[in-house]
């Protein structure tokens, strides 16, 4: 009894101690990037390369250039398990760290982005939700603190329809075709539905949405529906373990893989390898190149891994999601640089980084300097347009690597943009937000 009481007392004390202690913030001149990661849980297959990409790019900038114009980058990871509640906790924990607070936040989860959008403007932390999150945030007048360039779910869905049109031999051939959308039944997965519905009405194809519930390990019912429906094309918005299960199921029912196109979150190595040969020919969207053929990869190899290629590979270098986060980390760093050009070479505050993002202009020449020429596309953000409607490529899996399988395909902006503006206005009305002036 005595020992038991003692142990209990010790535990109570320990919990109390946690309340008292807080990790002290660093006081030096540094640019702090909070990192919400998910290295565990059902979304870890997607989360690990994402986290490694950010970490490696920031480390490389510190090692190679000594930081951003002399300001060291610091970062800290916080595990969210892709769970929105933990994401909010992590955000609260990290937002005031570093000498100027969080530079900007990359939630890498649409659910968490939704949570943070209302808070971020109050806390003055810009959100860079690169190609995910709330599409309506592309209207910068109502969402001054949220940036989702280079392109959004809605733009992507419209580009997918363009691509199908190309493959079928013209947009007029879409009439009467059946297109299905297999989506993660969450805010993220549903994003593309209104666009696809609008385009179905415009081009006369038949659209069916097939929801897969979180986390997506069980999809037999969905694919039974696919067998019954026999769609000509399938578009997928999946994430984590859902992707590999879907690809396996599609292979199991002998669905023609080259008519199965994932969005950019449904096309990484971890998604296709488990299905083995069955996944050969599977396609997905992307807005950056595949592989390790660029100068930026050589720099990461040299400065982060000391030339140890096996170790870099083990840390996912060159994988699709890794490359994507290299692009994302680069956007963040370049936004800080843009801000520094105006406010001076010191650690930037959230407010200043927001300015940097709003005046973000990544040119072809700058990409070349960064060793990313042809890796991704130039981006120019404006006050109204936080998305820029950038084009996408379709990449295809050949059983070993991802290869680019199309030209850059532009979204159908005349359909998407009015929908973005309408959605942003509806959100603003519901939440009493007044538009910022963009003149």
């Amino acid at each position: 009894m005595r020992i038991r009481t003692l142990v209990l007392a010790a535990m109570t004390g320990a919990v109390g101690l946690a309340a008292a202690a807080q990790v002290p913030a660093q006081a030096q001149n540094d640019q702090f990037f909070p990192m919400l990661v998910y290295r565990t849980g059902p979304y870890a297959p997607s989360g690990i390369p994402v986290a490694n990409g950010f970490r490696d790019y920031y480390t490389m900038i510190n090692e190679r250039d000594g930081g951003i114009n002399g300001v060291k980058i610091t970062f800290e990871e916080c595990e969210t398990e892709y769970n929105t509640k933990l994401g909010v906790e992590c955000y609260e924990k990290l937002k005031n760290k570093g000498s100027t607070g969080a530079t900007l936040i990359n939630p890498f989860s649409t659910g968490i982005t939704y949570q943070l959008i209302p808070k971020a403007s109050v806390d003055q932390v810009p959100i860079l939700s690169m190609g995910y999150g709330r599409t309506a945030a592309a209207d910068g007048r109502y969402f001054p603190w949220v940036f989702n360039f280079p392109t959004t779910y809605w733009s992507q869905a419209s580009a997918f329809v363009s691509y199908v049109g190309q493959q079928e031999g013209g947009m007029d051939k879409l009439k009467g075709k059946k297109i299905a959308h297999v989506f993660h039944n969450s805010a993220y997965g549903k994003e593309a539905n209104p666009t696809l519905e609008a385009l179905a009405a415009k081009y006369g194809f038949e659209f069916t949405g097939l929801a897969v519930d979180h986390p997506g390990q069980e999809q037999k019912a969905t694919w039974l529906q696919v067998r019954r429906l026999k769609p000509d094309w399938i578009f997928m918005s999946g994430w984590g373990v859902m992707n590999q299960v879907a690809i396996k199921e599609a292979a199991a029912i002998n669905y023609p893989m080259d008519h199965f196109v994932g969005n950019w979150w449904s096309g990484s190595e971890a998604d296709v390898i488990p299905a083995g040969d069955g996944s050969k020919g599977y396609k997905s969207a992307a807005f950056h190149g595949a592989g390790t053929g660029w100068q930026v990869h050589k720099d990461i190899l040299k400065y982060v891994y000391g030339g140890d290629e096996a170790k870099a590979k083990a840390n996912n270098m060159g994988e699709v999601l890794y490359n994507r986060t290299v692009v994302n980390a680069m956007f963040g760093v370049e936004a800080v640089r843009t801000a520094q050009a105006k406010f001076g070479n010191k650690a930037m505050t959230g407010e200043q980084v927001r300015w940097g993002l709003e005046n973000f202009d990544l040119t072809e020449a700058r990409l070349k300097e960064l060793g990313m020429e042809g890796f991704t596309r130039p981006v120019k953000v404006s006050c109204e347009d936080h998305e820029t409607g950038g084009p996408i490529v379709i990449q295809q899996w050949d059983g070993k690597t991802w290869n680019v399988a199309s030209d850059w395909i532009s979204p159908i902006r005349e359909v998407v943009r009015p929908m973005v503006v309408a959605a942003a206005e509806a959100y603003a009305k519901e939440n009493n937000i007044t538009a910022q002036s963009c003149n």
């Binding site: 595990e79 929105t84 509640k85 909010v88 906790e89 939704y114 209302p118 969450s186």
Partner: protein, 357 residues
């Protein structure tokens, strides 16, 4: 010695039947409430937003489930579903009729959840134990599905996410992004205190005794004149009302926006665990259980950093999960009746102190 109620004579029936019959208890509760109101002076935003507000909300939901499971003996896995009803209905009502005071909206949404709970409680007359758990599991999935499926619940927006709009009370913003963590904490605290006292009051009276009679032996209860259907349905209704209000608070005072995934089956499990670890059939146990489930993971996440140990974040998370699991097992072995029972044992010991036997 410290905790002796000797000498506290009751001279009236009312005095004998008070919610807290012992003087020390009254003082403790009053002190705890005062301390809780003083917390915003001590805690920073992280603690209020990420730890204390969720603790209060889970405590309220756990009280709700405890009324049903702990007092009335009806196992329910539908807690998450009933909370979702509360959250979504609050959103629906306040976006359509913005003029109603947000607290009133919470209560109306709670009533909606109560109605849904009533419907899903109907099978409880016929099915018992594990089978009832499965029936309420249907509530969990059905409610989640329908809230996701029918656009009316989320005003037909593209993503199905509901966002808490800014609402004011007496000129102070209490919900939405501009509401400070302190205000939201105080609102949540006040609601939880009121509802906890109501629950405490409920379980000592006729209603609570009828529930306990049903829990202990339903046939015997029926023979002494307790009507099982009405009693069980009342338990389902009141429990769902509590859960509904907790769900509304989840969206409006804690997360700010939510989708049905925020109210998934794991939430139902978590709240059931809180009730079991805290103590079935104890209001205090609901608080202790909620504290255990919300505070311990936060402590375990921050502990390695505090002692200056740096390790990869994924390893840290795995260790946290393992430690948390073993702590649950440890506590259940030490005291299968929950933390509330431990407190009761402590009280007995304090009564004899310093001469234990």
């Amino acid at each position: 010695m410290i905790y002796r109620e000797a000498g506290q004579f009751k001279t009236s029936y009312a005095g004998d039947q008070r919610v807290f019959p012992i003087l020390q208890d009254r003082w403790c509760v009053a002190a705890a409430i005062l301390f809780a109101y003083a917390i915003p002076l001590l805690a920073n935003e992280y603690w209020l937003q990420a730890v204390l507000i969720p603790f209060l909300i889970f405590a309220l939901a756990a009280i709700g489930l405890n009324l049903l499971t702990g007092y009335c003996g009806q196992v329910s896995l539908g807690t998450g579903g009933f909370m979702a009803v509360g959250g979504y209905m609050t959103y629906k009502i306040t976006t359509n009729i913005p003029d109603i005071n947000i607290i009133v909206v919470f209560l109306i949404a709670g009533l909606c959840a109560a109605l849904v709970g009533l419907v899903f409680g109907l099978p409880s007359l016929r099915i018992k134990g594990f089978y009832l758990a499965v029936a309420t599991l249907a509530a969990q999935f059905f409610i989640g599905w329908i809230l996701n499926k029918v656009g009316w619940f989320y005003n037909y927006n593209a993503s199905g996410t509901i966002t808490a709009p800014p609402r004011e009370m007496f000129g102070i913003v209490v919900t939405g992004p501009h509401a400070s963590a302190e205000v939201r904490y105080l609102v949540a605290l006040s609601l939880v205190i009121v509802f906890a006292l109501v629950a405490k009051n409920l379980v000592r009276g006729k209603v609570g005794r009828a529930w306990m009679a049903i829990r202990d032996k339903d046939i015997a209860a029926e023979i002494i004149g307790i009507r099982p259907l009405q009693t069980k349905l009342l338990a389902f209704t009141i429990s769902s009302f509590y859960c509904g209000v907790a769900g509304a608070m989840t969206v409006f005072l804690w997360l700010g926006s939510a989708e049905t995934e925020a109210f998934d089956i794991f939430l139902s499990f978590n709240i059931l665990f809180m009730v079991i670890i805290g103590g079935l059939g104890s209001i205090l146990g609901s608080f202790l259980g909620a504290a255990f489930i919300t505070l311990v993971p936060v402590f375990l996440t921050n502990a390695p950093l505090m002692i200056g140990l740096s390790m990869p974040i994924d390893m840290q998370k795995h260790i946290e999960v393992m430690l948390f699991g073993s702590l649950i097992i440890f506590f259940l072995i030490v005291e299968p009746n929950g933390l509330a029972r431990l407190w009761q044992i402590t009280k007995e010991k304090l009564r004899l102190w310093p001469f234990p036997y």
